[in-house]
Assembly symmetry: C2
């Protein structure tokens, strides 16, 4: 019988839970909206129901060996499961996710930062499979990172390594929720794209609409993606000089607008990084789409179970 884990991606809008086997095959995936202002009890009920749905599939084909969640927050090595900083899910602050999951499933629980998980997933069976050194950038509401060095996730002393969304690209730039100024997250996330579009006078509500306008040749949308690609490229050129990676993989919702920014990111890296570094670093889109985080969390759970 194959070993299977329940792997979940907890986002501000949706909760997605899947049964994943040790080859990275998703046996079953279920997705539900997270109600606005969800309480810890409501979320626990939701996880129980969705977990049972996935477990039902598993019982036929494998043995459930663990539960893996991603969290949209830094996950330090000594993280005990207590959610403290959740800008998109404030009603869950104070909820101990790890305790709740252990009580629900009586299985080992693994929690990974969402971007670290995406990096692990892409390295396991996605765009950076077989690649020794890579930088995974998740472009969504915020910007996260999962760095792989010598085929291992770079975790750092406290386990928070990879927080590349808060690398400064504009010393006196916009204030960031992290407490600093001019973080790349303020110029290259979906949130930033939306803000810059509004600032330029566009009548848009979402990054997807800015991209639609870009495809239609809108000059404001062009300027927005040009700025976005420039700052993302500046950050990645510097980080590439430091790490000399083979691949930079871009994940997250903003990749839908790839055509609008990838060229500028590449040209910044070509101009700003060392020639040998720029020639080496290949910019690619993630291969696992929305499932990168779930698959990376599953991979971590399998490694813990070994």
């Amino acid at each position: 019988m194959k070993s299977v884990v329940l792997a979940a991606d907890l986002g501000g809008t949706n909760l997605r839970i899947a049964a994943v086997d040790s080859d990275g095959t998703i046996l079953h995936l279920t997705k539900r909206p997270v109600p606005k202002g969800v309480s810890p009890d409501q979320l626990t009920d939701l996880i129980r129901e969705m977990g049972a749905e996935c477990s039902g599939v598993v019982s036929e084909t494998g043995r459930l060996s663990g539960v893996a969640f991603t969290a949209p927050a830094p996950v330090a090595r000594d993280f005990d499961g207590l959610l403290t900083k959740l800008p998109n899910l404030p009603s869950l602050v104070g909820f101990n996710l790890k305790t709740a999951l252990t009580d629900l499933f009586h299985l080992p629980v693994t929690i990974e930062n969402d971007a670290t998980a995406a990096g692990i997933g892409e390295h396991w069976i996605g765009a950076t499979r077989g690649v020794e050194n890579s930088i995974c950038v998740t472009l969504g509401t915020g910007i996260g990172g999962g760095i792989i060095i010598n085929n291992e996730p770079l975790r750092g002393k406290d386990g928070t390594g990879g927080e590349i969304g808060h690398i400064c690209v504009e010393p006196d730039g916009r204030p960031c929720g992290c407490g600093s100024h001019g973080c790349v997250e303020q110029y290259a996330s979906a949130t930033a794209i939306e803000r810059m579009a509004v600032e330029s006078g566009m009548n848009t509500a979402s990054a997807a609409q800015v991209y639609e306008a870009w495809t239609a040749g809108d000059k404001h949308a062009k300027a927005v993606f040009n700025t976005m690609g420039r700052y993302l490229g500046i950050m990645l050129a510097g980080l590439s000089n430091a790490l000399n990676p083979e691949t930079i993989v871009i994940c997250g919702g903003v990749t839908a607008g790839w055509d609008a920014f990838a060229g500028r990111v590449e040209s910044e890296i070509a101009t700003r990084a060392y020639p040998v570094v720029a020639a080496r670093a290949k910019l690619v889109r993630g291969a696992l789409g929305d499932n990168a985080g779930i698959l990376g969390a599953a991979r971590s759970a399998f490694l813990v179970a070994q």
Copy 2:
């Protein structure tokens, strides 16, 4: 009999060669000025003489097992010894250092980038001994870096990892010799300190003199070191967010002005890095002084010989 290597630091001003044993003890060290416009033959003669002086000491106490040099240039994994980019030693461009050393000593030859070597040296027997994750910054004519992750030097795919002097801290900033703009090297190296001092109207010739003026309370010198510390801190805050290191160790000649900039570097990291990252990253001076590079190169040679 102990194993001993000849380890050398080739700088723009001086050549330093030492006999180093496998515990990191410097048995003998000799230093000579590098003549301006030195030819490959002149340098080879110099290395022969200085090497013979060191070998004489070695023959009494150990067995010479290798030769290790640092180079003030990126050293790619496929580096065959041919010097191509040497801003401070242009007369040596086209000289194959590795071939010359092999012909001279008939021993295995190791060549390390000077800043990578400093990071390895400090981690071996200096300020970051026993520290799993660290960033070594060399502040001299330029800025280099040696990153240690999980007790190993981070080399990247081509072996050029650690080029942190060319992380951008000012998108439209000063042009840099590397081809980019606004690299931290343009704001925090000795060369930058001298340039900024002149720009502010100071009558100084060297970074050491700017520091002297700082100790005397000169307001221009204060502004220069404030700018220098600010940009160095911005770069290190971002890199710390990415790497979550325990220690940041500063090496190189500019550390002589430590009092004038370290506080500002620390305050930028405290303000800009994640709280857990900032609380962890300890800023310290190198413990090996001018010998960090020689000792790191020696360490690499011992590892190759094993």
